[in-house]
C-alpha cells in the first residue's frame, strides 16, 4: 500500500496474558498469534494454517476459546488471555485436561495439542457435563493428523469427569 501514517499502522496496547500485564507497541497488521509468539515469547501457541481452520492457535480470550490467527493483536487491547502456558497452576499442577492428555495418550507430535487443550479447557470449564458427541463437536475446529482423535476424546472425557468431581 502507499504511504501509511505510522500512527495508523502502529498502536500501543495493554493486554493481560496468563496473569501478567504486557504493554507493547504493535503493528496493526500483526495477528494475535504472532504477537503472543514473537512479542511475548509465548511460543506454546502454534500456527498451523493461519487461515482459521486448523485450530492449533486457539487461546482463551475473556473466557472464550478463539483462533488467535483470526484476530489482530491490536484488538486484544484490554483483553485477558490464557494460553497453553497459563493453564497449569503456578506450582506446576497440571490442568485436568493436560493431565488427561498425558494419561490417555492424547497427543503424538504435540503440535495441535495447545489448541486442543485450550479449547477443551475452556468448554469443559464452562460445562463439564459434555458427552462424547459434544466433545467431538467442541474439537471439530481443531485438526489433528496424528491421533485419529479417539484418545483426545478419551482424555476430554476423563478431564470432564474429574472436573465434575466424580473422582
Amino acid at each position: 500500500m502507499s504511504e501509511l501514517d505510522h500512527a495508523q499502522t502502529t498502536r500501543h496496547i495493554s493486554v493481560t496474558v496468563n496473569g501478567t500485564v504486557y504493554e507493547r507497541d504493535v503493528l496493526t497488521r500483526t495477528h494475535l498469534g504472532d504477537f503472543l509468539r514473537q512479542e511475548l515469547g509465548l511460543t506454546g501457541t502454534h500456527l498451523g494454517c493461519e487461515h482459521g481452520v486448523c485450530g492449533a492457535c486457539t487461546i482463551i480470550l475473556d473466557g472464550q476459546p478463539i483462533r488467535s490467527c483470526l484476530m489482530l493483536a491490536v484488538q486484544a487491547n484490554g483483553a485477558t488471555i490464557r494460553t497453553i502456558e497459563g493453564l497449569a497452576q503456578a506450582d506446576g499442577t497440571l490442568h485436568p485436561v493436560q493431565e488427561a492428555f498425558w494419561d490417555k495418550h492424547g497427543l503424538q507430535c504435540g503440535f495441535c495439542t495447545p489448541g486442543m487443550v485450550t479449547t477443551l479447557a475452556a468448554v469443559l470449564e464452562a460445562d463439564p457435563t459434555l458427552d462424547e458427541t459434544a466433545i467431538r463437536e467442541a474439537i471439530s475446529g481443531n485438526i489433528c493428523r496424528c491421533t485419529g482423535y479417539e484418545t483426545i476424546v478419551d482424555a476430554a472425557l476423563q478431564a470432564a469427569s474429574r472436573m465434575r468431581g466424580d473422582h
Binding site: 500500500m1 502507499s2 501509511l4 501514517d5 495508523q8 499502522t9 498502536r11 503493528l27 496493526t28 497488521r29 495477528h31 504472532d34 493461519e50 487461515h51 482459521g52 485450530g55 486457539t58 480470550l61 472464550q64 476459546p65 478463539i66 483462533r67 490467527c69 483470526l70 484476530m71 489482530l72 491490536v74 484488538q75 479449547t119 475452556a122 468448554v123 467431538r136 463437536e137 467442541a138 471439530s140 475446529g141 481443531n142
Partner: protein, 294 residues
C-alpha cells in the same frame, strides 16, 4: 502468510464509522474477523484501511421490538445461539447456528459479518430469508432499511454503498395466535462446521386441525443468494401437513434452477435441496404437533 500493511481505525460511534467510510478508499470493515482475517492473512484482500467496528457501542444487542426480534450486527454467533429471546422467538436461528463453524469461530463471528460476507451456502442469510428479515443500514445520508430479498446484489455482494454499514437486522418472528409453530433446519456439509453444500430451513404454523396456515421455506447453497421456495409454501397453505404433502412439496425444491461450480453439479444440488427440504419440513411438522406426527 502475513497480512499486507493497512491503516487501522476503531471508531466508537456510528457517526465516526460513516465519516470514515465516506472519506477513505479501499476499506474493509472488520467485524468478527472470521472471514476477513483469513483473506487478509492469505493476501486475497489488500485493503489500505481496516475499520474495526468492535468498539462501537450498541451494535451487539438483542431485543424484541414491535417489528420483531432485532439483533445487532456485532452480536456474536455464540451469543445469538444461546440468547433467551432467540430461543423463544426464533429457535430455528439457534438451530442453524449449531451448524455454523466451530466453538472458536462462533465466539468471535457475528451475525452481521455473515450477512455482509454472503457466502451462498451460509446459514444465517438463509434464516434471514426465511423470516423476510429487514436489514438496518447506516450511512451519511441517514439510516435505511433493506428487505432481505433485496439484500444480495450478486455473488457475495450486499446492497451497501461504499460509505454504508450494516448495523443489524430485524426478524419479523411469527406469533402463534392460537396456532402451533414448528421449525426445522437441515443441511448437508462434508464435515461438521463446513459451509453447507445445501441447507434448508422451514417454518410452519398449523391450526388445531393440522392445517398449514402459514409456511416459509428457505434454501441456501442453490443460488448466489438464499432462495425462498414460494411455490412450495403456497402448496402447503390450506392443507393438512403430512409426510405425503412434505414429499410433494420437497420435490419442488429440486426443480428450481441450481447454480453450478467446478465441484458440485446442479443435479446433486437439486437432490440435496429436495432431501434437506423434506427433512426440515418433517422436523417442523414434528415440532408443531408435539411429536404426534413423526
Amino acid at each position: 502468510m502475513k497480512a499486507s500493511a493497512f491503516a487501522y481505525h476503531d471508531p466508537k460511534t456510528v457517526q465516526e464509522l460513516n465519516s470514515l467510510l465516506g472519506s477513505l478508499d479501499n476499506v474493509r470493515i472488520l467485524a468478527g474477523g472470521q472471514s476477513l482475517m483469513p483473506m487478509l492473512n492469505m493476501r486475497y484482500a489488500f485493503p489500505d484501511h481496516v475499520i474495526d467496528i468492535n468498539h462501537i457501542a450498541g451494535l451487539a444487542e438483542v431485543v424484541m421490538t414491535p417489528q420483531g426480534l432485532r439483533i445487532g450486527a456485532m452480536t456474536r454467533q455464540r451469543i445469538v445461539r444461546e440468547h433467551p429471546l432467540v430461543l423463544e422467538h426464533a429457535p430455528v436461528l439457534a438451530e442453524a447456528l449449531h451448524w455454523v463453524g466451530h466453538v472458536q469461530t462462533r465466539a468471535r463471528g457475528t451475525i452481521g459479518g455473515s450477512l455482509c460476507h454472503l457466502d451462498p451456502a451460509a446459514e444465517q442469510p438463509c434464516i434471514a430469508a426465511l423470516y423476510d428479515a429487514v436489514l438496518h443500514v447506516s450511512g451519511p445520508r441517514g439510516p435505511r432499511d433493506v428487505a432481505m430479498r433485496d439484500w444480495v446484489m450478486s455473488y457475495m455482494t450486499p446492497n451497501l454503498e461504499p460509505d454504508e454499514a450494516l448495523l443489524g437486522l430485524t426478524l419479523p418472528v411469527w406469533s402463534a395466535q392460537g396456532q402451533t409453530i414448528g421449525h426445522g433446519f437441515h443441511e448437508f456439509a462434508r464435515r461438521h462446521g463446513d459451509y453447507a453444500i445445501v441447507a434448508a430451513a422451514a417454518l410452519v404454523s398449523l391450526d388445531a386441525g393440522g392445517v398449514v396456515r402459514r409456511a416459509s421455506i428457505a434454501l441456501a447453497g442453490v443460488d448466489v443468494k438464499p432462495v425462498r421456495l414460494a411455490v412450495a409454501e403456497q402448496a402447503l397453505v390450506g392443507h393438512v401437513l403430512d409426510q405425503a404433502l412434505i414429499g410433494t412439496v420437497s420435490a419442488m425444491a429440486a426443480t428450481i434452477e441450481m447454480m453450478e461450480d467446478a465441484h458440485i453439479t446442479p443435479a446433486y444440488r437439486g437432490r440435496l435441496a429436495q432431501t434437506m427440504t423434506k427433512r426440515a419440513l418433517s422436523d417442523a411438522l414434528n415440532r408443531a404437533t408435539g411429536g404426534r406426527n413423526v
